[in-house]
Amino acid sequence: MTKLKLSAKMHIIVIVSAVIIAVGLAVGLICQFCADGYFNYGGDYKDYQTVEVNYTPVEYKDKEITDLCEKQFKELKLSYYTRNFIEDTELGSTYEYRFSKGTDSEKLSKAAAAIDAALKDKDSVFLTNASYHAVDTVLGGSKALVFGSIALASAVVFQFIYFAVRYRLTAALSALLADIHNLALFVSLLAITRIPVGSSVFTFAVLCVLITMIGCCFLFDRLRKNVKDGEFAKLDVFEQTDTCAAESLRPVVLTAACFAAVAVLVFVLLSISALSVSGVLMPVLCGLLCAVVCVYGTSFFTPAVHSRFKRIGDKFKAEHTKKPAKKQ
């Protein structure tokens, strides 16, 4: 742990990050123009299609309805991504099966007609019916996204000012770069992996920045404290940064690991609750990506970059403190 030589390998780290970001940008742009958008937007942002089944609980049991629907969908090779149950409507109860926009609408209409016919065999009341609908969702999250981005930018600016005051300008610059790097990496990995992006992704982006800020606090605080030690101050800038990076690696990894562990726990238990893996898996994968990016960005990229900044800063400081001495 103490033999990490991150500073000397900055070029490798920068190349890795640049490649991931470039690939993400390329994949995103290609998908933007040739497929379904820069990101693979999840169910909560996408247009979708539904098959709605209204029935009277007096005539039908819930299980009869779900079995009938599952049978029809299986026959027509249709797979839905979520099922909603609506109780006590004026029509009795309703099951709403949601399908992605790309699903064959003719097949869905056929399935709805077949379910409708099967239902009416038993109960000819008009309250029992099945119908197909196409739903175009108006993106309501744009305002949240705009204000969220403003808040995130303000938070990053605040962190920059705070670090510049509390630590040094070089630390503030490194922290700023760490935030931007981690966010860019997270966004690029989302574009590459095509994990469906839902409303929860912005929450993870915020968490990504928060964990980075915590990690930077650990790193720069260590650096500030260690520099007070005479022996440590005599070390080369690279060695100083590497030592502090190694010392702060544990708390950073622990923070991200705790976060990842909670994400996995959420996945396991909510999958059991939802009786489906698909609805829960994607946000949790986002969370895991976020944790990985935070550890890599904060513990590997930031020290490597900071050592350069620090060297430049120290050199600048040395030059500007030497000059008056020469005049004397």
């Binding site: 609506i86 019916n129 949240a144 808040a151 962190q159 959420v266 609750s273």
Partner: protein, 515 residues
């Protein structure tokens, strides 16, 4: 500290925790009410988001549009005398467009199928903007089959109302009515007019009142902006006027104030009166307030009035009438995460708490118990704060609270490690604790300052779920920092019982070798 003093303090704090935990976690029928009234715990009184308790949704049908079910239901009986003719007339009146039936007159009026669809789409965008200002943790406005609108918002139910629908039917129907009211207000179509039943420029025979402004005037130019205003538990709508508006209001308010019986300026959206401004004298100012009272929820009503009025004065008027069929009917759906999602989420949070307690006890022995006490206090404090402030909790919000718990544990673990390092230098426990705290003081302070400010920024600048998460994390960060210092106090109090302070903390004292 003496052992007796320490025992008393520990007992008082433990009792306080137990009492708070009892009220926070357990619900029971209130004695003496024949089990009619029920005390709902703090936990079951927290409002939950759409991902945990499901959505409330309504389908808005524009005037002249019927669903297939309604079309069949309204079909005249063919068995009566002129039944066959009525059936023919009824069938001829409507045109089937996909899954809905539309009156042919209306279809023609709005430019055929495509024109109708375009208007519905435009209205969906306006409605989406209006609902966006409500600050829901999640919501959606969708166009269904091109001709109807589906609005989904969180059901905002508490666990008590969600888990026991029959017992808490009043709470459920209150939420249902609140959503219906919101949808109704925000779906008003038409432009803004100012009216009075006695004085005015133009008489409206349909509503039997007068429009107060000249026909050539665009009323929207009178207003700079309309917003919700709250002070001391009273709610109002604040109307800011332009120079033109100020002059015009001075004129019309003077006329209305001079009227014999009706001294009110009615704010109408289309044909519906939204607000009434009482005028006892002339209004001459850059802004004025219209108070909102006697509604089920004055705060929500003031917000909704402000949203709809602000939307209309900015030119966002709905082209179609969605309320011709009466008030919207609201239905609840089961959450996407399953019917038992709140229970599972509770189990997850409980497991995280137990894991944190077990880890700290295993690693730091009795000192871990001090940390465990802080974890319990943190959990109860968060539960109480969220319930009292009325924050709607989603899975992301619960995550923010858990992150706060991680912050508290991380702060304490960093501190404990720092103290352990000091003990290895051969110091006494009191000296080690003092130095340990001093060593990590700035790290912990910096971390908390940054997180408190950032979460406050998220809470104040963002909207929707992120704002709620930011607010939860803001409370969590403050709680974490207070409890971090409370840890030191409790450490001092509880360790008074222990003979071997090092053993109490799970540390081993290194005795320096004397050269």
């Amino acid at each position: 500290m003496g052992k007796i003093k320490s025992a008393i303090i520990t007992a008082i704090i433990a009792a306080a925790i137990l009492v708070l935990a009892f009220f926070a976690l357990f619900s029971w029928p209130v004695a003496g009410t024949g089990k009619v009234d029920k005390y709902n715990s703090f936990a079951s009184g927290i409002h939950l988001g759409a991902d945990i308790t499901g959505e409330a949704y309504t389908v808005l049908y524009p005037e002249g549009v019927l669903s297939a079910s309604d079309y069949n239901f309204n079909m005249p009986e063919p068995d009566t005398d002129d039944g066959a003719d009525k059936v023919d007339e009824y069938i001829a009146k409507y045109s089937q467009c996909g899954s809905v039936y539309i009156e042919k007159d209306k279809l023609e009026e709005h430019g055929g199928e495509e024109g109708f669809k375009a208007k519905v789409k435009k209205d969906a965008e306006i409605l989406s903007k209006r609902f966006g200002q409500k600050g829901y943790t999640s919501y959606s406005v969708s166009v269904v089959d091109g001709f109807t609108l589906k609005v989904s918002v969180p059901s905002n139910m508490t666990y008590a109302a969600y888990s026991d629908p029959e017992y808490n039917s009043a709470a459920r129907s209150a939420e249902q009515s609140a959503v219906a009211q919101t949808v109704k207000f925000l779906s008003y179509s038409g432009g803004l007019t100012l009216r009075n039943s006695e004085v005015g420029k133009i008489h409206d025979s349909e509503l039997d009142n007068y429009i107060l402004t000249p026909i050539k005037d665009n009323v929207n130019t009178y207003f700079k902006g309309i917003s919700k205003y709250a002070k001391g538990g009273n709610y109002a709508v604040k109307v800011k006027l332009t120079d033109t508006g100020r002059e015009r209001f001075k004129d019309i308010s003077a006329k209305v104030a001079a009227a014999s019986s009706d001294k009110n300026i009615g704010f109408y959206i289309g044909n519906s009166q939204l607000l009434s401004l009482g005028c006892e004298s002339e209004i001459d100012g850059k802004s004025f307030f219209i108070s909102v009272s006697n509604t089920a929820d004055d705060s929500a009503a003031a917000q909704e009035y402000a949203i709809i009025l602000d939307s209309v004065i900015n030119g966002d008027t709905l082209a179609l009438d969605y309320l011709s069929g009466g008030d919207p009917e609201v239905y609840f759906t089961t959450p996407h995460l399953g019917k038992n999602a709140p229970v599972y989420l509770g189990v997850i949070i409980l497991l995280v708490i137990v894991a944190a307690i077990v880890y700290s006890v295993v690693k730091y022995k009795l000192l871990g118990l001090v940390n465990a006490m802080m974890i319990v206090i943190y959990s109860l404090a968060m539960l109480t704060a969220i319930m009292l402030i009325g924050i709607q909790v989603t899975v992301a919000g619960a995550f923010a609270a858990v992150l706060g718990l991680a912050l508290l544990c991380a702060s304490n673990f960093v501190l404990f490690e720092s103290v352990r390092k000091e003990t290895k230098k051969g110091k006494t426990i009191y000296s080690s604790v003092k130095s340990g705290y001093k060593n990590v003081l700035t790290t912990i302070l910096d971390m908390h300052i940054i997180l408190i400010v950032v979460s406050l920024m998220l809470a104040l600048i963002c909207v929707g779920e992120i704002a709620k998460c930011g607010f939860i994390f803001f409370i969590a960060s403050i709680a974490s920092y207070i409890l971090y210092w409370f840890t030191r106090f409790m450490w001092y109090v509880i360790s008074s019982f222990a003979k071997d302070k090092f053993k109490f903390c799970g540390f081993t004292r290194e005795v320096p070798v004397d050269d």
